[in-house]
C-alpha cells in the first residue's frame, strides 16, 4: 500500500500552497487519494506556514502522522522539521539559502541539497518564490509522480492567458525533477496509477457545491477565517449558478438578510466563524419565532474570542446549542467528512423548509479548509428537494390567512410574499394563528401556550426523519471511541491502528447533535465496555452534551486544544493510556 506524506514549510508568501495544490491535483488526477492540511498564521507575510500533504493509493481521511519528504523553503523549516522526518525520509532544501543539521536527522533519513540558483540560472532574473517550483520538481522524482501529469496540471492552473508563464513554471519544475533524477534514488513507492480522475477540494468548497445542488439562491457572508472560503467560491461562481451573493456590513446584517430572503421563499444560507456567529444569535431566535427557514454554518476556529484565527478547535457547540434566548426549535448538524459537507446542505435546506426553522451546521477549520481527493460521482447533484407546505394562493384578498395555523405536526403552510390571499405579518412578538400580536393589548396566556407547543411539536416530528447513529467497526469491542463532526477521520484511523495492535475498537461519531438520538445513543453506550470521548477542545463540550442528552458519562476522554488537529497515532497511543488508567481506577 504505497503512501507518503510531504511537508512543505516556509514563510507566508513563499508559495507553499501552490506546491500543495500542484502535487495534490496531480495525485488526484492519477487516481491516487490525498489529504492536505495547511498550518498557517494570522499574518499576511512571514510567519511559519507548514503544509502537510498525504498521498496514498487507498482513501486517506486525515493528514496522518508520518513525514516522508520535507521541502524546506527557509531556514526556519529546516530547523523545526529536520528531526521529524521518518527514517527513510528525505529533506529537500535550497542549498544556497538553507543549512541543515544532519545530526538531527533520524537514522536512514537523508538531507538532499538542491542547487536552486544554478538550476534557475537559465531562466534569467526570476522571482525568489520560484525556488518552490524547483524543489517541487525534485520531490516529484522522489515520490515517483509522473511528470507529464504535473505538466498538465500546471498548464491548467495558469489557464489560456498564462501560457508563457505556465511554460516557464513547467521548465523550472523539470529542472528540479531532472536534477533529482540524476542525483537521488526515488523512494520506491511502486504506484499503480488508476488514472481515475478525482477532484481535489476543500470542505468549504464542498459546502458551496452542496448549496448549488440544494438550489440555494441567496448567500450572504462577512469575511471571517475559516469560513471565508465559501464566500470566495460564491463570489466567483454565484452569478453563473443563479445565486445572489452579498457581503454586507457585518454579521448582523448577514443573517438578517438571509432570513429576509428565506422568508420570501428562496433558499438562503450564510456562514461565519464563532465570533460572527455570536453576533448572529439574536436573529437565530428570530428565525425560530417567524418560522423562517435559514441555513447557517459556524466554522469553528480556536477560541475564545479572536483566539487563534487560523487554528482548529471544536469549542462552539455550547454557543450554537444556546444561541438566542427562549425555547424554540432548531436543528444542529455536524458533518463528519468532506462528502458530508456536500450532502448536509441539501439535507439542511429540506429540514429548514419542511419544518420552517433555522438549521445550524457546525464545521471547523480542519474540515472546512483541508483539501482532499473526492470522486466526482460521489456528488449527488440530483438530491431530493423538499420545500414543505406552501400555500398556493387564493382569490380571497382579505385579512385572515392563518400563517401560524395550529396543526398536528406544528407546521403551518407558508405563504410566499407575493401570493394572493396569503397576506400576513410574520412577527417576532408572540402572535396568534393569523400572526396578530398577543403581546399587546391583551396577552393571551392560553394562546401563548398553544403557540409554544406548536413550535415545539415540529421537533418531535423532525426527529423521526433523522437517520439513527450507528457504530462503525466491530459491533463488540473493548473500546468505543465517541466523538462528533470532523474528528471522525482521525478517530477511524486510530481505531484501525488499535485493532492492528490487538485492541478491539469501534466508534460512534455523531452528526445529528440536536435533536439528539437519545434512545439509540443510550443503547449503544450502555452496551459499550469502555467509552472514550475524543474531541478538540478543553472543557469537553460534547461529553457534557452527551450527558445532558443521555445521562451517561464516558469512562475517559482525549482532548486537544493547542490548535493543531489530532493525529491518528497520537490518538491511538492516548487511548491505550486512558484505558490503562481507567482500568486501574476501576
Amino acid at each position: 500500500m504505497p503512501e507518503f506524506t510531504l511537508g512543505v514549510g516556509g514563510a507566508a508568501g513563499e508559495g507553499i500552497a501552490s506546491v500543495g495544490d500542484i502535487l495534490g491535483k496531480t495525485a488526484a488526477r492519477l487516481g491516487l487519494h490525498m489529504f492536505t492540511y495547511n498550518s498557517y498564521q494570522s499574518v499576511i507575510r512571514g510567519g511559519h506556514v507548514w503544509l502537510r500533504l498525504r498521498i496514498s493509493d487507498k482513501k486517506v481521511e486525515n493528514h496522518g502522522d508520518i513525514l516522508t519528504i520535507v521541502i524546506a523553503l527557509n531556514q526556519d523549516t529546516a530547523d523545526k522539521h529536520t528531526a521529524e522526518i521518518d527514517p527513510g525520509g528525505r529533506l529537500l532544501f535550497n542549498a544556497d539559502k538553507v543549512r541543515v543539521d544532519e545530526k538531527a536527522l533520524k537514522d536512514g533519513a537523508r538531507a538532499l541539497p538542491i542547487p536552486v540558483a544554478e538550476l534557475l540560472a537559465p531562466f534569467g532574473k526570476v522571482e525568489a518564490i520560484s525556488q518552490n517550483t524547483v524543489l517541487l520538481g525534485a520531490a516529484m522524482h522522489l515520490a515517483e509522480i509522473e511528470f507529464a501529469t504535473v505538466e498538465d496540471v500546471i498548464r491548467g492552473m495558469f489557464g489560456r492567458k498564462g501560457e508563457a508563464l505556465a511554460k516557464q513554471n513547467i521548465e523550472m519544475c523539470r529542472a528540479g525533477y531532472s536534477y533529482a533524477q540524476k542525483n537521488f534514488e526515488p523512494l520506491g513507492l511502486a504506484w499503480k496509477f488508476s488514472r481515475k480522475g478525482r477532484m481535489m477540494i476543500t470542505g468549504n468548497e464542498a459546502f458551496s457545491l452542496g448549496a448549488v445542488a440544494a438550489g440555494c439562491r441567496f448567500y450572504s457572508a462577512y469575511p471571517m477565517t475559516p469560513a471565508s472560503g465559501i464566500l470566495f467560491w460564491m463570489a466567483r461562481n454565484g452569478a453563473k449558478c443563479g445565486i445572489v451573493v452579498r457581503q454586507p456590513e457585518d454579521e448582523l446584517s448577514v443573517i438578517n438578510m438571509a432570513i429576509g430572503a428565506g422568508h420570501t421563499g428562496v433558499r438562503a444560507m450564510c456562514a461565519t466563524s464563532g465570533g460572527g456567529f455570536a453576533l448572529m444569535t439574536e436573529a437565530v431566535g428570530m428565525a425560530g419565532m417567524l418560522e423562517a427557514p435559514v441555513v447557517c454554518i459556524n466554522v469553528m476556529r480556536a477560541g475564545p474570542s479572536t483566539g487563534v484565527p487560523t487554528k482548529t478547535e471544536q469549542a462552539d457547540l455550547n454557543q450554537v446549542y444556546g444561541a438566542s434566548q427562549g425555547d424554540f426549535p432548531r436543528v444542529i448538524l455536524a458533518p463528519r467528512d468532506l462528502l458530508e459537507c456536500f450532502d448536509t446542505i441539501p439535507e439542511a435546506f429540506n429540514l429548514a423548509e419542511k419544518y420552517q426553522l433555522p438549521v445550524l451546521i457546525i464545521s471547523d477549520l480542519l474540515l472546512s479548509e483541508h483539501r482532499e481527493s473526492l470522486d466526482p460521482e460521489a456528488l449527488k447533484w440530483d438530491v431530493p428537494i423538499e420545500r414543505g407546505a406552501v400555500f398556493p394562493g387564493s382569490s380571497n384578498g382579505q385579512n385572515g390567512f392563518k400563517r401560524y395555523a395550529l396543526t398536528e405536526n406544528g407546521v403551518s403552510p407558508r405563504s410566499y410574499p407575493g401570493t394572493p390571499g396569503g397576506e400576513h405579518v410574520a412577527a417576532t412578538d408572540e402572535h396568534d394563528e393569523q400572526g396578530i400580536l398577543i403581546s399587546d393589548v391583551f396577552t393571551n396566556p392560553p394562546m401563548r401556550k398553544k403557540m409554544v407547543e406548536k413550535r415545539g411539536r415540529k421537533m418531535e416530528h423532525l426527529a423521526k426523519e433523522l437517520p439513527a447513529p450507528v457504530i462503525q467497526g466491530p459491533a463488540k469491542a473493548d473500546v468505543t471511541l465517541v466523538g462528533w463532526g470532523s474528528n471522525q477521520g482521525v478517530m477511524r484511523e486510530a481505531a484501525e491502528i488499535l485493532r492492528g495492535e490487538g485492541v478491539s475498537t469501534n466508534l460512534l461519531v455523531v452528526k445529528y447533535l440536536h435533536p439528539f438520538h437519545t434512545k439509540e445513543v443510550t443503547a449503544i453506550l450502555k452496551k459499550a465496555k469502555f467509552t472514550i470521548c475524543v474531541e478538540q477542545n478543553f472543557s469537553g463540550q460534547f461529553e457534557r452534551h452527551l450527558r445532558a442528552e443521555t445521562g451517561l458519562s464516558v469512562d475517559g476522554h482525549i482532548r486537544r486544544y493547542d490548535g493543531e488537529p489530532m493525529e491518528p497515532r497520537q490518538v491511538a497511543n492516548e487511548v491505550k493510556e486512558v484505558v490503562h488508567a481507567g482500568s486501574r481506577r476501576r
Binding site: 448549488v212 428570530m286 397576506e423
Partner: protein
C-alpha cells in the same frame, strides 16, 4: 416598481386586521394613513406590498395594514428588507420604523443600505424618543432635553439622519410631518416610485413621552422646501438645508437623482425575481463546477 400606470385602489383595501393600539393622538396614525393612501394611489396590490419593521411603537405599523409584513428585530428591519427585496424584487418593499430602531441600534445598517442603494422606501417615524420602552433619550433627542434616561438633560448631540443619508450617497432623501397627511402621502408615493433606496424621515410626535417636540412646537416651524425653490439636484445645498433646525425646519425633498438600484444590476436577478427561478442547475454547469477541482 410599477412601470406602467395602474389603476388606483380603494384605501379601504389596506385596512388591517386590528385597530392600531397607539396612544390617542400619536403621530404614527398619520403615517399609517398616509402610507395606505400612497399605495392605494399607486395601485399596488396588498399581495405585492411588503412592509418590514423593527421593534418600537412605530414598528407595530405592519400589523395595522393589510399586506405582507415582517415585524422583525429591534434595529434589524433594514437588512431583513434588503433580503426580501433581493429575493423578490417584483415586490414593493417599504420599511417602517422608529428613530431608536433605525438611527440608534440600526444606524450602521441604515448608512450602509443608503450606499448599497437597493430599491426600498425607508420611512422613519422620528419622534425623538424611545416610545415603547417608556421614554428614554433617542439618537435624535435634542441636546439638553430631559427624558427618563437623562433626567438632568441629554448631554449628547443629536444625529442628523437626512444629512447622513446625503453624505452616504443617498439617491432620494426627504422629510415629512404627520401633521401634514396629504404632503406625507405624496412624499411616500414619490419615495416608492424612486428607483433606489429612499429615506423619508417623518416627524411623528410621541404625545406621551416627548413634551418638547410636539405638534404645536412643529407647526410654526416647518416649511416646504419645494415651495422655496430648493434645488433637489444640489447635494451640498441639501446638506445645508438638512442642518436647519430651530426656527425654520424644512420638509419635502432634500435631494433626488436618477439611479440604477443594485437589484437592477445584480447578475443573478437578470432573469427575473429570484423566488421564481428554478432550483436545479444544469448538468453542464455542474460539470463545469466540478472540473475546476480536477
Amino acid at each position: 416598481m410599477p412601470a406602467a400606470a395602474v389603476a388606483e385602489l380603494p384605501v379601504s383595501l389596506f385596512k388591517g386586521p386590528v385597530e392600531p393600539d397607539w396612544c390617542p393622538g400619536c403621530g404614527d396614525f398619520g403615517v399609517l394613513n398616509a402610507l395606505k393612501k400612497a399605495v392605494a394611489k399607486l395601485g399596488i396590490q396588498p399581495k405585492d406590498l411588503m412592509v418590514v419593521s423593527g421593534i418600537g411603537c412605530s414598528s407595530n405599523l405592519p400589523g395595522f395594514i393589510h399586506s405582507y409584513g415582517v415585524h422583525s428585530l429591534h434595529g434589524r428591519s433594514v437588512p431583513v428588507a434588503q433580503g426580501v427585496k433581493l429575493a423578490n424584487h417584483a415586490m414593493t418593499v417599504v420599511i417602517t420604523g422608529g428613530d431608536g430602531d433605525g438611527y440608534g441600534i440600526g444606524l450602521g445598517h441604515f448608512v450602509h443600505a443608503v450606499r448599497r442603494n437597493i430599491d426600498i422606501l425607508y420611512i422613519v417615524m422620528d419622534n425623538q424618543i424611545y416610545g415603547l420602552t417608556t421614554g428614554q433619550a433617542s439618537p435624535t433627542t435634542c441636546k439638553g432635553d430631559k427624558t427618563k434616561s437623562t433626567p438632568t438633560g441629554n448631554p449628547e448631540a443629536p444625529i442628523n439622519p437626512c444629512a447622513l443619508a446625503l453624505v452616504s450617497g443617498g439617491t432620494w432623501v426627504g422629510r415629512g410631518f404627520s401633521g401634514d397627511p396629504n404632503g406625507l402621502a405624496d412624499l411616500m408615493a414619490q419615495g416608492i416610485e424612486h428607483r433606489g433606496f429612499a429615506l423619508l424621515d417623518v416627524f411623528s410626535p410621541c404625545v406621551t413621552y416627548n413634551m418638547n417636540n410636539t405638534y404645536p412646537w412643529f407647526r410654526p416651524r416647518v416649511y416646504n422646501l419645494q415651495k422655496e425653490g430648493h434645488d433637489t439636484s444640489d447635494r451640498v445645498a441639501a446638506v445645508k438645508r438638512a442642518f436647519e433646525w430651530g426656527d425654520r425646519i424644512p420638509l419635502g425633498i432634500f435631494y433626488k437623482e436618477e439611479s440604477i438600484p443594485l437589484d437592477a444590476i445584480e447578475p443573478a436577478l437578470k432573469k427575473g425575481p429570484l423566488v421564481q427561478q428554478p432550483l436545479r442547475t444544469s448538468p453542464e454547469i455542474q460539470k463545469e463546477l466540478m472540473l475546476e477541482f480536477m
